[in-house]
Symmetry: D2
Subunit: 422 residues, 4 copies
Amino acid sequence: MATETVTLEGHIIDSLILAKVLDTILQRRGTFTIKEMHVGATREDASTATIAVHADSTQRLTAILHAVQPHGAVVEHAVDCTLESAPKDGILPDAFYATSHLRTQIRLNHQWLDVDAIEMDLAIRVTLNPPRARTVPMADVKAGDLIVTGRTGVRVFPLERPHERDAFAFMAADVSSERPHHPMIADVAKRMRMIRDNRQKACTDGEAACDPDLGTKVLFVGGPAVIHAGGREALTWLIESGFIHVLFCGNALAAHDMEASLFGTSLGYGLRAGCAVPHGHEHHLRTINRVRNAGSLTHAVESGLIQDGVIASCVRQHVDMVLAGSIRDDGPLPDVITDTRQAQTAMRAALPGVGLALLVATTLHAIATGNCLPAKVPTVCVDINPAVPTKLSDRGSFQSIGLVMDAASFLRQLAQALGWEG
Amino acid sequence: MATETVTLEGHIIDSLILAKVLDTILQRRGTFTIKEMHVGATREDASTATIAVHADSTQRLTAILHAVQPHGAVVEHAVDCTLESAPKDGILPDAFYATSHLRTQIRLNHQWLDVDAIEMDLAIRVTLNPPRARTVPMADVKAGDLIVTGRTGVRVFPLERPHERDAFAFMAADVSSERPHHPMIADVAKRMRMIRDNRQKACTDGEAACDPDLGTKVLFVGGPAVIHAGGREALTWLIESGFIHVLFCGNALAAHDMEASLFGTSLGYGLRAGCAVPHGHEHHLRTINRVRNAGSLTHAVESGLIQDGVIASCVRQHVDMVLAGSIRDDGPLPDVITDTRQAQTAMRAALPGVGLALLVATTLHAIATGNCLPAKVPTVCVDINPAVPTKLSDRGSFQSIGLVMDAASFLRQLAQALGWEG
Amino acid sequence: MATETVTLEGHIIDSLILAKVLDTILQRRGTFTIKEMHVGATREDASTATIAVHADSTQRLTAILHAVQPHGAVVEHAVDCTLESAPKDGILPDAFYATSHLRTQIRLNHQWLDVDAIEMDLAIRVTLNPPRARTVPMADVKAGDLIVTGRTGVRVFPLERPHERDAFAFMAADVSSERPHHPMIADVAKRMRMIRDNRQKACTDGEAACDPDLGTKVLFVGGPAVIHAGGREALTWLIESGFIHVLFCGNALAAHDMEASLFGTSLGYGLRAGCAVPHGHEHHLRTINRVRNAGSLTHAVESGLIQDGVIASCVRQHVDMVLAGSIRDDGPLPDVITDTRQAQTAMRAALPGVGLALLVATTLHAIATGNCLPAKVPTVCVDINPAVPTKLSDRGSFQSIGLVMDAASFLRQLAQALGWEG
Amino acid sequence: MATETVTLEGHIIDSLILAKVLDTILQRRGTFTIKEMHVGATREDASTATIAVHADSTQRLTAILHAVQPHGAVVEHAVDCTLESAPKDGILPDAFYATSHLRTQIRLNHQWLDVDAIEMDLAIRVTLNPPRARTVPMADVKAGDLIVTGRTGVRVFPLERPHERDAFAFMAADVSSERPHHPMIADVAKRMRMIRDNRQKACTDGEAACDPDLGTKVLFVGGPAVIHAGGREALTWLIESGFIHVLFCGNALAAHDMEASLFGTSLGYGLRAGCAVPHGHEHHLRTINRVRNAGSLTHAVESGLIQDGVIASCVRQHVDMVLAGSIRDDGPLPDVITDTRQAQTAMRAALPGVGLALLVATTLHAIATGNCLPAKVPTVCVDINPAVPTKLSDRGSFQSIGLVMDAASFLRQLAQALGWEG
């Protein structure tokens, strides 16, 4: 009979963590004794539990400890993490530790150390002098890099459920088209206002003055339906009003937006007239050709070729844009990063400081962004197809909400909640 | 070789009718000679074509004539329709003519006679003195009723494509979530205003003063998501402002609406608070119980039990309500017609005068209503699930448009377009 | 400070019940002391917990007890339930207890008594001599009936998670199109075989010989797409082979099935030819007319009018059929119950003994059936639209699984797993 | 009054081309006189029409001619096409002619010349000595290349409706979940058999022996759900049996397939066990890491690391694989082309000879492939979400069919129709 003692700490009752840990032990044919349990008297107080886990073999015990670790269970007499060298450039040691998107620490020289730039499905690279741990994508690892392997000496911190009701107190799993969207949009608007204020404070009074947990940037990730469906004016207003600070999109959103500027159509559909224009698809291609000729989005705007819309406002407001290529692109436009790995790197570089992510009407970019976001960043996923918000909310963050509605209605209502009169 | 001459008349070029007729003849292995063709010089002018249809057997010729008839092809030396008596109550002659939802005439005593109350999938009952033809549902036929059989002496008038662009100039097949909804909602609003004005004229200056083609009633058909999703206030405003004159719904919409009035929730979801209320589903049941106790919706409102919302406004504005039962109803509420055939009869009785039908967030009621509407009534079908508008627009009317969006966003934007400031 | 002691018993750890109860107390601003806790050593052993709940007012304490009751928390010094007379026919006392679909007991004369025919959203009617409790729909209550009110003296038994993996060990929430369906269909087939064997045993050796928990009937609930989509042959084989014992459907499934028998089409689509047949929709109406003329489904089959298919097999195999009407029906066919309340009553009458429910390609009938089924009956919901299985699985039963696939593929694969060679 | 005479030739009646041309003229406020019309006596015979088009200005006349050109109308006294030099590398002349996916000719030195490698939304590059025309993507054009501009001297050939019924005689618009899939899958299987035979003939008797219209390759384009959903075995069998010759997919399908080979899971879901495996997502990452270590897919298979499944069979059967990267990729695997433009080039290079394209459970790759396919290649799009086949069939080819069903059911039924006994 093998035994090991683990401890749990935090809001382990209300977040169901204790229950899940005990159940996980039994499921894997272990048994347990609760050696100590202090339950906090109120929801605000933390609780602790000390649990002896028993199993009939060391192998089974290891499997159990492995399984309870993502719930925050820490083996009591903690040991340091194990490190192995990457065998080649771009290749991890076979037993590398794969990260989750939750706050994570490793134990190095008897000290717990935060892992920087946490993101799911990466490895952890360690440098020793000074001791530092940071996630690294598989393709970026170099031969000889020290990589965390196995599971000992690693602990993760489960997200705790927010205490006050705001939009982000909704359970993620709760993607439903049978709920009123209005209160949620109001809460999103409130947070956007708070982040804009926080950003202002950082600008005027210095970084130290702002609330780092709140963040100083709103990330907008959008698909072409944002333009098709009639959300262009509202989104432009949001950018002009300083509510959006980072834009991730593909070739199509940008091309449709600039087509609307040059021809008044989107993929040949007359946005104002509300009807199809003959040979309209040509507008799409001619737009791309002219902007390519301008050399860059910035030059297309500054030269006066593109005078209004999402891209023009982003250029004028110095919004950080990452345009990532895909295999269905026409053209593509200048500034589109056609190498998908380089595009991922550019996206990651733009994330620090993001305090709210709006993922609207795009499956590809929404999932790609979701993969890079730490669990703690509130995320709103909007799509007419319930499968997309559901996929996102499978990430299992309390901070993520899904709205099943069309992009234009969302953007119009959001902009109205922030003062737009369009 | 059998031959018969048919004539086509109307906008047979631009509506593709001529092309379809010729193709249908060839498809069924017939041949044809175009004996005469006058093509109107402009889109406004009618064209005519006289076509001799040839086939190698009388049987084949009959099949061809049968197949071209729905496109408006009329056999030149027209003969009277054939009539047979219904053999029993509720049973039609086996060869009964099944109607489409297009304007239809039968030939009786050498005269073409309009079929009243045209609707798809019914039979035509004829009375002789005076000559009258009217649709009859299978279940309502009485033994001995004279029923049109076969296909001779029946002609239908294909819908012609509208000439001016308004919302109802869109092709029905064009259900897409990639189009801006805004111009279409604006056009729907415009038509609602026109119908309200027309109704006003009928009230003040008499029926003769109003435009009968435009209609004097707007029909709203809604599912429970109208309330869940947060469309209750906008819909109430539309009713109070005189824009809605007939309401078709089920037990659930009415119960959710009155639950919101009594408890501020909808199926237990706090509409204002934006979060679930414990045991909220009980509110639904208690609402139904209390309204049953009041005896009728009218009494529930007039007694002060129900003070606001959709049902209260319908009662106050004398909106004609048909609540049709279904097997998933709790209760049901008083005034719900639990017999589905009686409910269909009540729906049919409310349709004359309807000039616009809004079908929002309901599959069952939308399809049931679609089945009863003549093709000429403009119809807007709104659903978050594209399958529903697609099903509706398979009816093949130029007058039908589908919007893939959530009910609340539609109602809010429609009400805003008509002056709501909510 | 008000205090009350509650007890929890059963698999309260692995089913997360304990955690949910503690969290519910804290959420509603109560506090608690765990007075005693015995955790079962293995997953098979039950656990118990005795918890003192504290709140700052009696009102708040009542609200908390109210909220933890659905998780199975029983107030220790239990008192009898309260009873009130129904004020009128069809009207419940305002404070009536609304049932869940979980096993429920009431306390009457110091004795716990099972509530018969448990089903969600009904009231509990009590007769005293001898003491009996049974659910009653609102509309069926008579003036003077004794109805349970409030929440004292009522306890419910949460479902416990199944221990062995079979299809019904899947979590309900797990509706996903990204999972292999094959293992689940195999498990459904296995259970169908077990139920058929159990039924055989009941027939040959008497009721006492069979396993009552397993059930002796499989319920099939289907929409018209079962026929359209090409599932008719597989379903007919399942019925002929004795795997289906109850059929719930609407007018459309039956009409399409018999249209296929008479004309080889379904709504005019040639099932064999794989292409549309001209004027095919007439076949639908002529089928209904002929079967109406036959007077009943049984007579239509026995007279030789309908020779094969789902309905013919149901008649021959003495399958218990409930055809419920809806407002979109043509005809309807004889045997369709047009009154929705009578249809609900007929559905309820057919449920005792059902050990597996297959809900295929129908929203209306699936939800209506789901409302009537006790939580313990394993339920499989199949639809091409993920919204339908999701809605069903919101019922919160561990016993319910959703498959996102087309009806025909499901039926063909299920029949193949049971030996069909079609 | 400006006038120009155009001619139409081909199956212009049954394909509705004549009707559309006449309507287009009227819509754009032109008028017309039919100068001559010979209608073929049977469906097999071609018809011709000579039409004088009148308009009140040359500008309007030009717009009309522009609009009727895609329907095959050719200006009678045809002139040569106009050519302009590309101003820079990667930039087209502003007025470049944008291609459709229909067979196209340009007129050069009084001769009509076919455009090679036709594909939608590209430009046409001309070389003069000898005269050659070929499509060119915008990004591949070089400064000075001769590019067709405007619309004179270009004619396209509308697709003609197939005469015999097979799967590809279905109308594309007809995406429906209410149709039986079986006859269509049988027709797809039949065509796959024909292409395999044709390929055999080309191999044994030389290219000249085979039917070039039928094609010698089947292209399979798949998303990861092919593996998740349980279609791996059937697809592997199809490859092993020589029915698939080109594979387009992304990183995910390949990684899931090889994960199944190494760990028996797909994204951590136990394919055989039918339940989730703890920390299963790690399997995905470890698979990618090990295959990266192998250096290439071919080496991973040949070294014995990957022993079965889709990729292993493709390597063994010399299937031409194009793995295109996207921004949501983990890793990625070796052989994934991370540059999206290079990936498009690789896809185009693999298309010649393709006689059937199966697009299964992928939006991104299906649309990207659809963009590159000439209209004449029969295409089958399979997805559980009806939006994907609908988008594809908007391409407007008679040769394209959509099936709304899950990937695994499709692949299993297709393989069974071809002799699989799994």
